[in-house]
């Protein structure tokens, strides 16, 4: 067996680590199953079905509403929506309880929501029927203009959150980005990507917390087992073996991350479908305010890439702290603190604090929020958005902490 083999054996033979590995499997299974249940289809009798079967039905229903969202499609959609809302229904209650409305809407819901966002001042179910009733086909010519106007109002209309949060330069930068978005957009079924992107951040956060238990022991266990004196006294103890430990940490992070995210993605996309990979994010109402021309495939790739950088950063930080303190206790708390801290800080509205929160590593595991919330920074005189900054910053910090970890462990004094 090689040194790597022995290090691996130390890790996997530990009872705590075996429990952690088991919990990781459970976590992936639970999150995947929960995500599949998010997709729902309701039949004429109001009976809901979820998961793969629902995705198949939904895809069929959405078929007529797939393609370029141009004037003809918008007009057809308006006719259909007027028909749905104009038909007397036994119990036309808004929202979740109205199964008949939901049944009728489910194929056209994505287009209906986009129209609602473009023409409703405050898009809500209660006012939606009235809005559709009053909307005329010539109004639809302004669909994309309205979209831009809505974003502009968000930034320049007093009372809106965006009005207070950005400088004039930043507002102009945002508007430029909105204007440069490709139109008309393509719409269609994209539930697999939407659900996977929505649920994967939670999976990442729980995984990184569990992962810290595996990583913290790599360096700290030599001290807790009191094997440090013999270990450091050997030929490779302060050199090759430290590199091997670091490498084991890297492999563990990589394997845990890609296996967990890979299995999740495979189950979710395998069941809900990969249709819509080439659709732009803006085709989904959830991403109405996104300023990037990015397909769902590119977006999911970004989520996975950023998450991996987040895992590397947290992982090397955990290992460095465990090597520094000779203990796992503090190290395993790091991911939890890093992920929980912004939740408390976010409640405080302060432009400067907002900028600080924007640089915290939790965004790497929540890239969806990072893209939807418009954090802007000025770098070398240029206004730029948060995502490239955190990607570059935390990639560099990951390397730095890996080097610090090696330095710390190699020069450890055993008193």
């Amino acid at each position: 067996m090689t040194l790597m083999g022995y290090e691996l054996k130390k890790m996997v033979s530990k009872r705590t680590n075996q429990i952690v590995l088991f919990l990781l499997v459970l976590l992936v299974a639970y999150t995947s199953s929960k995500t599949l249940k998010q997709v729902e289809w309701i039949d004429e009798a109001g009976n809901p079905i979820t998961g793969r079967a629902a995705a198949v039905k939904l895809r069929q229903d959405m078929e007529p509403w797939t393609g370029t969202l141009d004037q003809p499609m918008l007009e057809s959609a308006l006719v259909r929506l007027k028909e749905i809302y104009g038909t007397p229904q036994p119990d036309l209650r808004p929202g979740e309880n109205n199964w008949l409305l939901r049944h009728n809407l489910q194929g056209i819901k994505h287009v209906a929501d986009l129209i609602g966002l473009a023409y409703g001042d405050e898009y809500e179910d209660e006012t939606y029927a009235e809005m559709i009733e009053s909307l005329q086909s010539e109004d639809l010519l302004r669909f994309y203009e309205n979209k831009i106007a809505g974003h502009m109002a968000f930034l320049y209309k007093e009372g809106n959150w965006g009005y207070y949060s950005y400088t004039e330069e930043e507002k102009q930068y945002i508007m430029e980005q909105y204007r440069s978005l490709e139109t008309p957009i393509e719409v269609g079924y994209q539930e697999g990507w939407v659900q996977a992107s929505e649920q994967i951040p939670s999976l990442m956060k729980y995984c990184v917390i569990l992962l810290s238990f595996l990583l913290a022991g790599i360096f700290a266990d030599e001290f807790s087992w009191k094997t440090d004196s013999v270990y450091y006294n050997t030929y490779h103890g302060r050199t090759k073996s430290t590199v091997i430990k670091l490498l084991l940490g890297f492999i563990t992070i990589t394997l845990v991350y890609w296996l967990c995210m890979g299995c999740f993605s495979l189950v979710v996309l395998g069941n809900l479908g990969t249709d819509g990979a080439e659709l732009m994010l803006q085709s989904c109402p959830r991403y109405w305010s996104v300023r990037y021309d990015m397909t769902f495939l590119q977006y999911y790739g970004l989520i996975l890439g950023a998450g991996y950088i987040g895992f590397l950063f947290m992982g090397f930080l955990v290992m460095w702290v465990s090597a520094k303190t000779k203990s796992s206790v503090l190290a395993v708390l790091i991911p939890s603190v890093m992920l929980l801290l912004p939740m408390f800080l976010r409640e405080i509205f302060n432009p400067f604090l907002r900028k600080v929160i924007g640089l915290l590593p939790h965004w790497l595991m929540d890239i969806e929020q990072a893209i939807r919330y418009q954090y802007l920074y000025k770098v070398f005189g240029q206004v730029t958005c948060l995502v490239p900054i955190v990607l570059v910053m935390y990639s560099s910090l990951s390397i730095l902490f890996a080097l610090l970890c090696y330095w710390e462990y190699r020069h450890k004094q055993i008193a």
């Binding site: 130390k10 009191k226 030929y235 302060r238 055993i414």
Partner: protein
């Protein structure tokens, strides 16, 4: 050219305000060296510096004239170390543990396989090679400890309190093992149990408060000891008074009186019978009542 010379020059180690090792100098050549001192004398700190686990505050350690900290791996290749607080990987078998340490000591898998068999045989652990380390008794762990220390056939073997916690038969076995290993290498044996050192060490170093207070062979140390051993019979009610006045190495209570072994330059009382001075007497002479008191085993 020098050969097998481990030299320490003005070596010191400070821990905040405490001087654990204070300006010690010595040269080790092939042979067994017994480092004797009470708990807290600085033995472990000295050994940790000799094994590069701790950097000295000042001074130098050289191997054949070369600074051992600059030699780095090349020096550690020569080392074998059994720490006082010897920990193990709980879920490794003895054989796995030794093979792992062999790999850390840069032995090839073939060499490691051979060497592990050899050290298992040497330490009498062959039949326990499949046992998990966490299930081993204290004595067996120590044997595994010495086995790992000699895996690389070290030129410098450092054993810190190797017999601590062992029963008498294990201790004898251990001392014999050390004698077997002593050829062509420097063996530095630290202990506060005098009999362990006396039986195996060619040179003895007495360490007190971070300094070397006396060095030499057993005979040289005894010859240089200012006190002699006296056997005195005293009334039982006077034992305390003698304790106050002299160093008392031993008290034996008999039916009508007490028999004391007193360390003194001159006869402490009329009728005192002079006895041959032992290394224990030397130890007591240097370390006084504190010797052996801290762990309460009264081994002196």
């Amino acid at each position: 050219m020098l050969f097998m010379e481990l030299k320490i020059t003005n070596l010191s180690k400070d821990f905040r305000k405490t001087k654990a090792v204070n300006q010690v100098s010595y040269t080790f050549h092939s042979g067994v060296y017994g480092l004797l001192g009470i708990n807290g004398a600085g033995k472990t700190t000295l050994m940790r510096m000799l094994t590069t686990l701790l950097n000295p505050t000042s001074g130098e350690i050289t191997w054949d004239g070369e600074d051992v900290f600059k030699m780095d791996k090349a020096y550690r290749k020569l080392l074998g170390y059994l720490p006082q607080d010897f920990g193990v990987y709980p879920d490794f078998s003895v054989q796995d543990y030794l093979r792992y340490i062999a790999a850390l000591k840069n032995l090839t898998p073939t060499e490691a396989k051979e060497k592990v068999q050899e050290v298992l045989l040497l330490t009498g652990m062959t039949q326990f090679k499949g046992k998990k380390m966490r299930t081993l008794s204290g004595g067996m762990k120590r044997r595994a400890g010495i086995a790992q220390a000699v895996l690389n056939d070290p030129k410098i073997l450092v054993l810190d309190e190797p017999t601590a916690g062992l029963d008498p038969s294990e201790r004898i076995r251990f001392r014999n093992l050390i004698s077997e290993l002593a050829a062509d290498r420097i063996v530095l044996l630290s202990t506060h149990i005098v009999s362990d050192v006396e039986s195996v060490a060619g040179q003895i170093i007495l360490m007190k408060e971070g300094r070397f207070v006396a060095t030499g062979t057993t005979e040289e140390l005894i010859a240089a000891c200012p006190d002699k051993g006296w056997l005195c019979n005293v009334p039982k009610d006077e034992v305390y008074a003698y304790h106050q006045k002299y160093r008392v190495a031993n008290v034996k209570t008999l039916s009508d009186h007490a028999q004391l072994r007193i360390l003194s330059q001159d006869a402490p009382m009329p009728g005192a019978v002079p006895e041959e001075t032992s290394l224990e007497d030397v130890f007591l002479s240097y370390f006084g009542e504190r010797s052996g008191g801290e762990d309460g085993n009264g081994m002196v």
